[in-house]
Amino acid sequence: MNHVRLTAEQAGPLTTYQDRGRPGLMRFGVPLSGPVDRLALATANTALGNPPGATAIEVSGGGLTLAGGASPIDFALAGGDFTAAIDGNRIGSDIVATLPAGARLTIRDGSAGNWACLAIGGRIIAPAWLGSTATHALAGLGGGRISAGDTIIVEATPPRFDTPVPLPPPPSDDGPIRVVIGPQERFFDPEALEFLTTAPWRIGAAFDRMGIVLDGPPLVPTSLAMLSEPLVRGTFQVNGSGTATVLLADHQSTGGYPRIATVISADVDRLAQLRPGTPIRFTTIPATEAIAIARRRHTAIAAYLATVANPASFEDRLRGSNLIGGVVDAADPD
């Protein structure tokens, strides 16, 4: 394998190595971690022929500038509307391309999204902790944060994308964010439960890998007297002053604030991608419907990734058929 060394010339504060994460350890206080936008990681890796959960670089609003190494590398960028440029020439968003030896790759946050994944063809060599390179940002465990001056070492596969190839658009949904009420709805007045779905909410100014704060009506719990218990990704919890937070990839494994609802798995990552100030609405659905949605989404994502796995033919397909539209439709009935 050809080892290529890339240099980070500039990196936003939330730039980290991420892989699929470390499942099975929440009972020991270890969150899953991994990418905030899980489909972005799978897409970027799949487009390059890497395993879908392989180590990649998660980029946030601060962007990332890399100086290429002694040999060319392939890369794929997915998630949000982050843009890539090679030596200052913008090549687009959601794209697969080759970075020539010595060239500069600049990732910027574009018009939408808080998180993107940059995968590199081959294998990124990063420190593992408990079997995963995913960075647990609070503790600094795993591959860790990437800062200006850091070197990224890659066992690179031979480059294949001299001409950049756009990725097909992923299954998407612009509807309200769907939640299942509970498990601590009994800690809230009926009025608060009504506010959850009737009030105009906005994405708050504060977010990180642990969670995203929401601006909306104060949903003050009627009591805070509850024991700490396990948390899940998508938990909609409210602290004593009524501040609402939805928990993301690095969430603590347990907590003691009342949880009014849980965002369904199909909607957590798209909620995390909405920028501060974006208006949002919540709608409640029963658990049975949430499970049916998860199954439909699983099928739609499998179909999408199968298309992504053969990027050389994207452009032909885009020109010659409506397959891409069909994939999007598969996720729409929700």
Binding site: L138, G182, L227, T254, I264, S265
Partner: protein, 230 residues
């Protein structure tokens, strides 16, 4: 810590769906050994049953979180399967592992020991004796990797957290607050009272068993004269 709930005690356990990803089983709403024993027994029974679609389980004081793959199973199938395990869980005779954890209470390693003694109106030696007298149980992990919440702190040492967290304490800090004790595994900000330091490695990433304690394990502390870094 008693919590008013609509559900009568006889209705335990309660089952609650967390969207499409998890099922929460509630066995009570207080931190007490009898309820925690049920959590641990259910956790063991579910682990042994190897139910299809179950991804991981997370025990806590009075509840058990069961994460599942919604493509492989669903809330109702899982609830039915778990309900049928109730008898197995009741019959399970769990023999918890006991650990003896060394603690150095010497002043350099116990920055809050004097303040705890002052607030509880007792001598430093009495605080140490009280802490050593406790019969501790691992109720759950939380907050950060390897942070095990140990219940069983004598009531004489019950203190609320500090109003403002202290930036960082070294790994192995033995700290108390709210009737709980934690031996830290990572340097994290904390509002708990640090009364000693232990060389015991609770988080061992290179070990085949990276976490020394399992939920339900029993702990006793043993005094050592000086702290030797592991």
């Amino acid at each position: 810590m008693l919590v008013a709930m609509e559900t009568p005690a006889s209705a335990w356990p309660n089952y609650r769906p967390l969207a499409d990803i998890a099922l929460l089983v509630e066995f009570g709403d207080t931190a007490e050994p009898a309820i925690h024993n049920r959590v641990i027994a259910f956790d063991a029974a579910i682990g042994a049953a190897k139910l299809p679609g179950v991804l991981e389980t997370v025990p806590s004081y009075a509840t058990l979180m069961i994460h599942y793959d919604p493509v492989a199973t669903d809330y109702y199938a899982l609830k039915t399967a778990i309900t049928s395990l109730a008898n197995a869980a009741r019959a399970a005779q769990t023999t918890p592992t006991e650990h003896v954890i060394p603690v150095c209470y010497e002043a350099d390693n116990a920055p809050d020991l004097a303040a705890v003694a002052e607030q509880r109106g007792m001598s430093v030696e009495s605080v140490i004796a009280q802490h050593l007298s406790g019969d501790y149980r691992v109720y759950m992990y939380g907050f950060a990797p390897g942070y095990a919440y140990l219940g069983g702190v004598p009531a004489s040492l019950d203190l609320p957290r500090k109003p403002v967290p202290v930036r960082s304490r070294p790994v192995g800090s033995v700290m108390i607050a709210g009737g709980q004790c934690i031996v830290t595994t990572l340097p994290m900000p904390t509002g708990w009272w640090v009364i000693g330091r232990s060389p015991a490695a609770i988080l061992r990433p290179e070990s085949p068993k990276p976490f020394l304690f399992d939920p339900g394990d029993r702990i006793r502390f043993r005094r050592i004269a000086s702290f030797d870094a592991p």
